[in-house]
């Protein structure tokens, strides 16, 4: 599985580098996103929706495709009231706080279903690596792990053109993030989210 992810990420990066050499007028996207855990494994650790999210993307047009790189950030956090947890030989009483930050850095390919009109739907697929910061607090004492894991993202939405001439407008969409992870009881950080932002052409 890791090999597949690595090849996918590498292929996408090579495509990006090749297209970068001659493509024109790259498109920039920046926006806000909120994401919510979907897997039970992740929900058992944090079930709260993350409202602290940002994303950015730089892409080059190639026919009906946009090829580029995207990065997003989501900060998941949940605090649980004091609880007594049974251990092998005894008990621990603690306020438990869980914190996860995901930063998928992806090579992305976006297909635009239309080249005309104010509303232009699209679908995108991304693959790359996810920088994860995982922290499990018992009171003020942390068990932390930072790691790099594979990431795959499916994204769909619509671009609302405000200025067709300048190639700028508003973007809204939803994405699913497949984020493998394996530490302690948390087996993955899969989540889906909604994002909104602006896009414009760089000149």
């Amino acid at each position: 599985m890791k090999i597949i992810f690595s090849y996918a990420a590498l292929s996408a990066l090579i495509m990006l580098v090749c297209f970068t050499a001659y493509a024109q007028k790259p498109e920039m996207r920046i926006g806000y996103n909120f994401n919510t855990p979907v897997s039970n494994s992740f929900k058992n650790f944090i079930s709260n929706t993350s409202f602290r999210g940002f994303n950015g993307e730089l892409a080059y047009p190639v026919n009906n495709l946009l090829i580029g790189v995207g990065v997003s950030y989501s900060d998941f956090y949940q605090k649980y009231p004091r609880q007594v947890v049974a251990t092998k030989d005894g008990n621990i009483s603690a306020v438990v706080s869980n914190s996860v930050q995901t930063i998928p850095i992806l090579a992305k390919a976006t297909y635009n279903f239309s080249k005309k009109g104010l509303l232009r739907p699209y679908a995108a697929l991304g693959a790359g690596m996810n920088f994860v910061q995982y922290t499990h607090y018992l009171g003020e004492f942390a068990d932390a792990k930072s790691t790099l894991k594979p990431a795959v993202q499916g994204d769909a939405g619509v671009n609302i053109f405000v200025s067709e001439l300048r190639g700028s407008g508003i973007n809204v969409g939803a994405s699913f993030n497949y984020l493998p992870f394996n530490y302690s009881e948390t087996k993955n950080l899969n989540n889906w989210g909604v994002h909104a932002g602006i896009f414009f052409l760089l000149r």
Partner: protein, 215 residues
Amino acid sequence: MKKKVLLLILAVSAVAMLFSSCRKDPLNNLTAEESRIYITKKDSTINFINFKTYSIVDSVSVIANNKLEGKMASDYDAKIIKVIKTSMSERGFAFIDIKSKPDLGINVSRITNTFTGIISYPDYWDYYGSYYDPYYWGFGGYGYYPPSYSFGIYKIQEGGLSVEMLNLKDATGNNNKIKTVWTALARGTGVFNPANADSEVKAFFIQSPYLKTSN
């Protein structure tokens, strides 16, 4: 082309680091009370019903940087000892003088580590025998038998209140070793504040319902 790729990687890394700094810090969302943790462990082979009496030290061992600095009886120390006595009484144990050969002995320690770096609790247990005087409990020449369990995964940089319950009743039968049958540890912000002494000891006992005997 190499330059563009390098710039792209640098830009993405910079953005990732920028995003990372936007993290909500869980520690800023904790009160001092919420920051504290209480860990209790017991010897699973022991049934406390078999113990009736206990005695407790009259001062607290101050252990700094893995060395016994001395015994103290500050306001905090006195409160801790007093609340332990109250809690033990509520669970049916009778306090008696050391000379009357109690079934259980209770050691109380304040552990502080001021040097830079991180140590783990197994280090504390490594020095265990040198912190306490078996003569105090009337077992001169005996050794201590630290628990096989430890607080191993919890690394400490600062201080903690530690309470250990010793099996004096069976010391001779345990090859002249005083076995530790129950340990409790409190750590976190304000752990040595006298105002918190009551809640700390109560937390130890609440999560140790097995710590009781019959009269």
